[in-house]
């Protein structure tokens, strides 16, 4: 697992129990280097527990995990990790600049680089004009921005963000998306813990959906959301001809309705033309669009409210 080629995060049946309560049942997932990975799940699914285990803030009760190629708890590896906790609190009596300086020291960043690091972090999270104000005077949103700045110090290889937009307004959320895009362009791996599906859909390359302490789906956002397809009311199509349509995607037949999954928008006219060419008569075409939210709710066994 060691070495630059190792995944940014790899877990194998990682588990955590608190007494009889199972916080994480058996988490198995891989986050590749340089990708933006969304870790999705409802409240209480075990997302924050997973992050705490990865950072050594809590000890697993089962399974194994490696972070940047090193086993959990490796001190040197933590120099290359940035972390924004879900519960972001910083010393209220310190100035924003002091908090960043403290974390420069804790991250063992060379002293002559502090000023540049601090100024860059403040500028990135939009707090340059509040650098000398006490944290006690900051709104929640500003504290979360500061936390994000703390996570960016020292050009980390991996940044773990636990619900990074929970206290932010729409402008703040857009800023966070841009910051994540910036990290990705620099090759930084981002592990984004969130239950805000639209956010995740916009910024993540891949996602894992967790529920009740285990991954229920993992893959590219496009694939996970790819319930997208089409339902076609077809008659007069021979079984053999029908089977030939499988090249468009997985087929499901229900009476006279044919469902083709994983179809891109542009392929629908081609599909219809093909059905007609093979002798079928098309009575209706219903395109289906599944968002990450649909898939999420389906996996969690809940209906989307109408």
């Amino acid at each position: 697992m060691r070495g630059a080629a190792s995944p940014a995060i790899h877990t194998q049946d990682l588990a955590k129990r608190y007494g009889k309560t199972v916080a994480l049942r058996a988490l198995t997932m891989t986050v590749e280097r340089g990708e933006v990975f969304g870790f999705l799940g409802p409240n209480g699914a075990g997302k924050t527990t997973a992050v705490k285990l990865l950072l050594g803030l809590a000890k697993p009760t089962g399974g194994e995990a490696w972070i940047l190629g090193a086993p959990l708890g490796d001190l040197a590896t933590r120099r290359r990790i940035g972390y924004l906790p879900e519960l972001f609190r910083y010393q209220s009596w310190l100035r924003a600049r002091d908090v960043l300086a403290l974390h420069c020291a804790l991250a063992r960043i060379r002293r002559d680089r502090w000023r540049g690091e601090i100024d860059a972090a403040l500028a990135t999270v939009g707090l340059a004009d509040r650098a000398d104000d006490r944290i006690g005077t900051f709104s929640k949103g500003m504290q979360q921005r500061l936390g994000l700045g703390v996570a960016l110090l020292g050009t980390p290889d991996l940044v773990l963000l636990d619900e990074p937009t929970s206290a932010l307004d729409p402008v703040g959320r857009r800023d966070v998306r841009e910051i994540i895009a910036g990290l990705k362009s620099r090759g930084v791996t981002v592990f984004l813990n969130s239950h805000l599906l639209t956010e995740v859909e916009r910024v993540c390359d891949r996602v894992a959906i967790v529920d009740k302490g285990a991954v229920v789906a993992e893959g590219r956002v496009a694939d996970i959301g790819a319930g997208a397809g089409v339902r076609v009311h077809v008659t007069d199509l021979a079984d053999a001809e029908r089977a030939a349509l499988a090249r468009f995607g997985p087929l499901e037949t229900s009476g006279e309705w044919l469902r083709v999954r994983g179809l891109t928008d542009g392929a629908i006219p081609d599909l219809v033309a093909e059905i007609v060419r093979r002798g079928g008569r098309v009575h209706a075409v219903h395109p289906e669009r599944a968002t990450l939210e649909d898939r999420f709710l389906a996996l969690l066994g809940e209906e989307k409210p109408s």
Binding site: K52, L55, G56, L57, A58, K59, L75, A76, R78, R79, I81, Y83, L84, P85, L87, F88, R89, Y90, Q91, W93, L94, L102, H103, A105, L106, A107, R108, G147, V150
Partner: protein, 282 residues
């Protein structure tokens, strides 16, 4: 990493209202006692009381004032230091710190060191100020002022260490309250031990010895009292052994093995605190 945390802890303590309030109150008390000692000196000179008698009177008053100060010091040590770990875990500040390349032992030792420095400085400055005031008003200087301040400082370190241990597994206020109860129990057990010596009751003596070893604050306080007592008081106390149970009197300085034990105690309790904190989840 320990100095970074220690400096942060010192800055935090200096920013907290509790310390500012205590310094203010201490100055107020010092001013009040200055007035009191000046009054004693004035009355003595009016009534032609001998210098020896004035010294004796002053020494006993000073012991009582310092007993109060030592009690305040114990409370301060506990309430300033008890949120050290627990407070940061409760508030969430610990999350971002412990995710950094820092060992938990480093965080704990940094917190201990920072709190110990602040409180020892407070103890020595407060104690020295009071001794200075007494000297200025009455001309009296206790036999061992430096030893007295060192015992006071050692007592403070014990208090901080106990508070740090408690803060690794108990909420800040609860930890503070428990530590205060411990101090009180040890103080009473110390008196019980002295009474046991007087009555030749081995059980009571053992209670005194064991509690003094479990939490050495009372033993150190007796060292502090001893270094404040003029020879004349010690001589009369030796004759009147009934005074042995009195917390305002000590018939001897703490032994070297006891002082060594105090050092061992601090190291052992810190080691225990590290073990507890290492297993703690944040």
């Amino acid at each position: 990493m320990i100095p970074t945390i220690a400096i942060l802890t010192i800055r935090e303590a200096l920013n907290r209202r509790i310390l500012a309030a205590l310094v203010g109150l201490t100055l107020l008390v010092v001013a009040a006692t200055a007035w009191g000692f000046a009054k004693v000196a004035e009355l003595s000179s009016n009534q032609n009381v001998s210098t020896v008698t004035l010294s004796l009177l002053t020494s006993q008053l000073l012991v009582m004032v310092m007993f109060m100060f030592s009690f305040v010091l114990g409370m301060t040590a506990v309430f300033v230091a008890s949120p050290a770990i627990a407070g940061d875990i409760e508030s969430g500040v610990a999350l971002s710190i412990l995710a950094r390349p820092i060992r938990r032992a480093e965080l704990l030792l940094g917190k201990w060191l920072g709190n110990a420095i602040v409180l020892v400085v407070y103890a020595i400055a407060g104690g020295a100020l009071e001794l200075g005031v007494v000297r200025a008003t009455t001309g009296y200087v206790p036999p061992e002022p430096v030893a007295f301040l060192l015992y006071l400082a050692a007592e403070t370190v014990i208090g901080v260490t106990l508070a740090i241990l408690l803060s690794t597994f108990i909420a800040p206020m609860a930890g503070g309250a428990i530590a205060v109860v411990c101090f009180g129990l040890v103080w009473i057990a110390g008196i019980a031990g002295s009474i046991g010596e007087l009555l030749n009751n081995e059980t009571l003596v053992r209670v005194g010895v064991v509690t003094r070893l479990l939490l050495p604050t009372d033993g150190l306080w007796r060292g502090a009292v001893f270094s404040l007592e003029p020879v004349a008081v010690l001589a009369s106390a030796g004759r009147a052994s009934a005074l042995l149970g009195n917390p305002f009197l000590a018939n001897g300085a703490p032994t070297t093995p006891f002082l060594v034990w105090c050092g061992v105690w601090v190291v052992a309790v810190l080691a225990g605190a590290m073990l507890v904190f290492r297993a703690r989840e944040v």
